[in-house]
Amino acid sequence: MEIRMGFVIITSRCIDCGACMVACRAENNVPLGNTRNWVKDSGVIGQFPKVKQMFEPGNCMHCDEPPCVMVCPTGASYKRPDGIVNVDNAKCIGCKYCMTACPYEARFINAETGKADKCTLCLHRLQRGLKPACVQTCLGKARQAGDLNDPESVVAKLLAAYPSRQVLPELGTGANIHYIDVLVPEIPEGK
């Protein structure tokens, strides 16, 4: 089966330390004031004494049907055969149409390059057999990335074992960050 790269994020394991944001910034030289990934905070849910709080890390969802790729007037935004949505800087004119189209607000204009900027799933690291910087650094092991179609991968094993959800599934984007909200006591071994 063809490769389909994506993330599995276990919200119950996220402690909102922000290490993924720091690692991404350091790895990809993201300018200050912008970020390629984030941690959303639900705030306090419920009434004392039954309260809880949830953190939802995120970044580009590398959608199956990416709206940003559809609207790009020059073809600079493209989807690779392995599912990674990327920007070709040589073609990008910085028109911001993709930023308007993205329902997850995963994109910004990099003021240093004048191009649309977003998560690349750390393509340069994947090519060397490394994990993305945010996944590597995540101390709760909340962030996992890999080939969703490969049954031997960590992400596929997690998705098979636990219920998951996507953000804004009603838009039909086929977002490839799958969130697991239930407790995951142990991360399975795998690629």
Partner: protein
């Protein structure tokens, strides 16, 4: 989610100037079609006005780009699913057309006296 658009004041100016140009062009040509002799002044001034607001608007569009010097990438391709791709080709063709129209009026090819004389020559 944040409802704010990344497009700002430059795009507002562009939309206004593009509307101005399109309006001038449409008025000019409708006047020609309706009654050439009676409305020639309207048609002439419409043609005189049309090319310039859109030229300013296009300049604003360029300034709004993150990489203005890369704008030519728009005209190396037609992305069938991108409204902006159609739009950029439409602006290019409209601006060229409006300048051709202006030239024809300045050269007198479209004015009624010229037409009348050329008709007379034929008969």
């Amino acid at each position: 989610m944040n409802a704010e658009l990344p497009w700002g004041f430059m795009i507002v100016i562009y939309l206004f100037t593009a509307g101005l140009s399109a309006g001038a062009m449409i008025t000019s040509n409708l006047a020609l079609l309706k009654n050439r002799e009676q409305y020639e002044r309207i048609a002439r001034w419409g043609a005189y006005v049309a090319p310039f607001p859109i030229a300013i608007g296009t300049g604003m569009l360029l300034l709004d780009l993150g990489s203005p010097f890369n704008f030519y990438q728009l005209f190396l391709t037609l992305q069938v699913r991108s409204a902006m791709s159609y739009g950029s080709w439409a602006i290019l063709l409209f601006t060229l057309l409006s300048f051709v129209n202006l030239y024809l009026w300045l050269a007198g090819t479209l004015s009624s006296s010229q037409m009348a004389s050329s008709n007379r020559k034929k008969s």
